[in-house]
Amino acid sequence: MVKNITIFTTNTCAYCQMVKKYLGAKGMSYEEVNLDDHPHRQAEALEMSGAMTVPVTVVTKTDDSQEVIVGYNLARLAPAVA
């Protein structure tokens, strides 16, 4: 079960919009961290994902385990939020 979802995004990232669109279509809420507005949180995204890219989607489950999905990867995103 999903407890919460955080997505790291930027203003110009089309793949970020796809992740938001997918979660929106599933009726799922999420917190968005826009790195253009909050550049100081870039290190956090990098630490979570190990990658210098967005979107980074962090799915926290009710048992507090976390799944980190780098990029717009439906094959990983869909089961993570199911």
Binding site: T10, T12, C13, A14, Y15, C16, Q17, M18, K21, Y22, A25, L35, D36, P39, Q42, L46, G50, A51, M52, T53, V54, V70, G71, Y72, L74
Partner: protein
């Protein structure tokens, strides 16, 4: 039709892809009440959506953000009833009047199919490229550029995309080395714009320079080794953005009767009809395409009109 086949969802048209060609086609088909489903495995809007600024799409005198153009095209198609499914088509089977598509949402039938899967940026195929992917090696400036505030960058390529994205990246990076294997092949407008950044010292263009290896330390990129005039040259950098041309998204078509050219682009006749009856192609995926967004949209409209003729039994394909 078997009972099993009757259970498979059926559409008049399935469009594979949701870039400008696909969305333009969907605007035309849905306005004529032709039931249309689009499948998109990546980003709606295709490469146009991940392009910073589009200056040559008609109707936008000041240019338009790629992401905005993609969104407007999507809204227009959806207004007339197009449905975009986020998923992938993995195979097409010819079952006579119907085509059966294997998709990540299960099998689907369509009376006609439009392949508009477009293309993706090529890789250069040098040591370090794969190893440092997303940790210093990137193919999407609008996605990953923000990670390079106040850093040095290398951009590889000399075409429109490379120059456009290098210019975009100047908003983050302190300096960009543009490594161009031969000469700049971007439009005059982009080349003149690039010259301004060269004059400001924000970009240095290295013509006749190959990119040979990407070197890193502690998991991140530190330099690129290139060759110019037969001599090895080091470019210190924090990241590398690669824009060296396009490769077609046609892998899934290889086992089908849809004929591809030697690179993998789909061959069509003048009706945009492929070698599989009832299957059409438009946009960047089509052999001979001009790789322009305006052309892709035009081809999408043409394909939709030809599909309508085909569905009405009025089209007589040239190749089969």
């Amino acid at each position: 039709m078997s009972d099993e086949a009757k259970d498979i969802p059926k559409h008049d048209v399935i469009i594979i892809g949701a870039g400008p060609a696909a969305l333009a086609a969907a605007i035309y088909t849905t306005r004529e009440d032709i039931d249309t489903l689009l499948f998109e495995r990546g980003v709606v809007g295709g490469l146009a959506a991940v392009t910073d600024m589009i200056d040559n799409y008609p109707g936008f005198p000041d240019g338009v953000d790629g992401i905005k153009l993609a969104d407007e095209l999507r809204k227009q198609a959806e207004r007339f009833g197009a449905v975009i499914e986020l998923g992938e088509v993995t195979a097409i089977h010819d079952e006579g009047k119907l085509k059966r598509l294997e998709t990540t949402s299960g099998d689907m039938h369509a009376r006609a199919v439009l392949i508009a899967t477009g293309s993706d940026y090529k890789k250069i195929g040098v040591p370090g490229e794969q190893e440092y992917y997303a940790r210093g090696v990137h193919y999407c400036a609008t996605c990953d550029g923000a990670f390079y505030r106040d850093k040095r960058l290398v951009v590889v390529g000399g075409g429109n995309s490379a120059v456009q994205e290098a210019i975009f990246l100047t908003r983050f990076a302190t300096h960009i080395d543009l490594l161009v294997r031969s000469t700049i092949k971007a439009s005059d407008v982009l080349e003149h714009e690039l010259d301004e950044y060269v004059k400001q010292g924000k970009v240095t263009v290295h013509l006749g320079t190959t990119t040979d290896e990407i070197i890193g330390k502690d998991k991140f990129v530190t330099k690129v080794i290139g060759t110019k005039d037969g001599k090895k040259v080091d470019f210190k950098t924090d990241g590398v953005f690669v824009f060296v041309g396009l490769m077609p998204n046609s892998q899934f078509l290889k086992p089908t009767p849809v004929k591809l050219d030697e690179i993998g682009f789909v061959i069509t006749d003048q009706h945009l009809h492929t070698t599989m009856r009832g299957v059409f192609a438009a946009g960047d995926i089509r052999s001979g395409a001009t790789m322009q967004i305006a052309s892709a949209a035009g081809e999408g409209a043409t394909a939709a009109l030809k599909i309508r003729e085909y569905l009405e039994g009025r089209l007589h394909p040239v190749q089969n």
